[in-house]
């Protein structure tokens, strides 16, 4: 039987043909987010080996970056992790600012923090929603998407775009918080909490949900560090590492928030960490907002930066904690107005390379759950 099916499937994957069925999942598959592909060898439903293949969304961003000026590259960073574009923008801005050796005014920092944390909530909401959809629970996704629309509304008020925000610029932020934010935020905070609560009640203690997620592709901390995991994936394995606490950038050292960690590194821990992080993000926004309101109205938002940005020759690396983990920009400058080499260190790239090891010996259903819980965003994976 295995042989007969063999002829139908198209694989360019691992060549060894055993008694196992090669099952090609993706790139067009409901759970593959459009551009991922996994070539598996299965014994019945059990996965013997899985090899992810990427590059279906490789758009040459890094090469493009070498041909654009520093300011022109900013909009391209939106298209990396499009679920939380603002984090990418800020990461890039911070990297260039580090190369220039400047620090932006405090008010701009607070604005960036507020927007970044909102983006983090939006990103986690998509993740939790999609995880639910992939495990068969469709309804929470819709509840979360409604809240996401509200967050988009704030983005739109502030800088005019929903998804690809291009927020701020090198040296600061252009606009203050929109007036409507002051009314909107208290209401929105409650509704986000309500949606999270609804999701929590629908999923967390649901027996089927627990069966499907607890203990599924658990990963130990040593392996995770060896594979280069960061962010929620690493925290789920029990390592308390958050760049916001460990290498504070912007003003994160002034805020009071927890870093939730898991124990087993399974899908459930990843899901729970994201749920808890949303709450922490709300806390951070509250504090940042209070600090923002204490600022004088005429406090500067922008640092003076020359029109044409020419960082001195040298190479820098700056990383921030994006919703997925450590998002870093390496910039090598040759003293001209274009970066000589720009390298993005996407967080999900490192996680996804361990995918074969994560899902080995699990079942096809777990592969889907695992993929959703990693939160692979093809844009930043392939660049």
């Amino acid at each position: 039987m295995a042989k007969e099916i063999e002829t139908v499937c198209v694989t360019t994957g691992p060549a060894e043909v055993g008694d196992y069925v090669a099952l090609n999942i993706g790139p067009i598959h409901p759970a593959m987010h459009g551009t991922l592909r996994v070539i598996t060898r299965t014994d019945g439903e059990t996965i013997i080996s899985a090899e992810p293949e990427i590059g279906y969304l490789h758009r040459g961003v890094e090469k493009l970056g070498e041909n654009l000026t520093y300011r022109q590259f900013l909009p391209l960073t939106d298209r990396l992790n499009y679920c939380s574009a603002i984090c990418n923008n800020v990461a890039y801005e911070l990297a260039v600012e580090k190369a220039l050796g400047i620090e932006v005014p405090e008010k701009a920092q607070l604005l960036r923090i507020i927007m970044m944390e909102l983006a983090r909530i939006a990103d986690h909401q998509v993740l939790v929603g999609i995880l639910g959809v992939d495990l068969g629970a469709l309804t929470p996704f819709f509840y979360l998407i409604i809240q996401r629309e509200e967050i988009y509304e704030i983005f739109e008020w502030h800088h005019g775009a929903r998804l690809t925000n291009s927020m701020g610029t090198i040296g600061g932020v252009e606009a203050e918080l929109p007036d409507r934010f002051h009314e909107k935020w208290p209401k929105m905070r409650d509704s986000i909490r309500k949606a999270n609560d609804e999701t929590d009640r629908l999923l967390t203690h649901n027996r089927i949900w627990m069966d499907r997620t607890i203990g599924v592709n658990a990963f130990c901390a040593d392996d995770a560090l060896n594979w280069g995991f960061t962010g929620p994936m690493l925290r789920a394995c029990g390592v308390k590492r958050d760049l916001r606490k460990d290498e504070p950038y912007l003003m994160y050292d002034k805020f009071d928030f927890e870093v939730p960690t898991g124990k087993h590194g399974d899908v459930f821990d990843r899901y729970m960490i994201r749920m808890l992080e949303m709450e922490e993000s709300i806390k951070i926004i509250d504090q940042a907002y209070a600090m923002y309101q204490d600022m004088p109205d005429d406090a500067p938002l922008m640092k003076k930066v020359p029109k044409i940005i020419k960082p001195p020759e040298g190479q820098i690396y700056h990383a921030i904690e994006s919703p997925n983990g450590e998002l870093g920009f390496f910039i090598k400058s040759d003293g001209t107005d274009k970066p000589y080499r720009i390298k993005i260190r996407p967080p999900c790239y490192m996680v996804y390379q361990a995918f074969g090891e994560l899902v080995q010996g699990e079942m096809i259903s777990d592969l889907i759950a695992c993929l959703s819980s990693i939160n692979v965003i093809a844009g930043e994976l392939d660049r």
Partner: protein, 346 residues
Amino acid sequence: MADWQIDLIKVVFIWVWALLIAVVMTWVERRASAMMQDRLGPNRAGPFGLFQPLADGIKLFTKEDIIPEKARKILFVLGPPLFALPAFSAYAVVPFGDKIVLGGKEIILQVSDVNIGFLYVLALGAIGVYGMVIGGWASNSKYSILGGLRATAQLISYEVPMGLALLTIVLLYGTFSLREMVLLQQGTFLGFLPNWGIFKQPLGFIIFLVAAYAEANRVPFDLPECESELVTGYHTEYGSMRLGLYLFGEYVNLGTLAAITVSLFFGGWALPYVDMSKFLGPVAYGIASFTVFFLKQAFFLFLFVWVRWTVPRFRYDQLMGLGWKALIPLGLVNLFVTALLVQLTI
């Protein structure tokens, strides 16, 4: 009127009724899911989008009919009807109303009161599986075949607890005829409870309901279809009206299962505490009993939809575990206890 004419009317009626339920159910499912998800749902085709299933049907009918090159042609064609037809046929033994006397003639509101109607339903349910398996196999696609294999394993495993749960009912009523079972459920029990199967066999009912969900391939047991894993499972390669038959058959199946649930556990057409035949004319009584039956059935149909949009999906091995490790032992214990009680009370 001759007997065959009456029979013909009944057959046509039940056929149309089953079709209607399936059609309306697709609409109900979409609108109800939309309601639960803060959406509107389809509302462009006809009032409230009521004609949405019709639009889908027209579209599916006029779509290009593709049979994949590497598919087994005959089996590929055979799959969908084999899935949909048994579901329709099972309606034949469902008693949808009481006996009425018209012009000195006794008419039973049931296509045929087979004395082993109960076994007939089970047997037809088992045939429906072949539609899925054959469809999955003939498509010659890996997702399809995985779906087909899952369907086989799932349906065969869940036939057993379902059968065990139903056996207790047979023990209780001492008959295989669905009509007699309904008749035996009239009156009250312990003085205040309606004499329904659910109160006499609560555990049996739960086992039956779970198994029914599995038989109908609904979330949390929709593994053969399993949109996020197997694309659309056994009917991945099907398009046009063949797909329509599969989708349609699923809803007909739901209708059958709901009807059987009502007949076995919820007193069929009879209202509790009230005997409608005493103050209603024969025709009115026929309609009333049918309405009662339909309302009960509608509740279960809605329950199917409700559960569908609430819970996540099982994993394959968990599904098997639930079937073999939980439901079957429970069913056996239930059967044993029931047998003991029946033996003691006689």
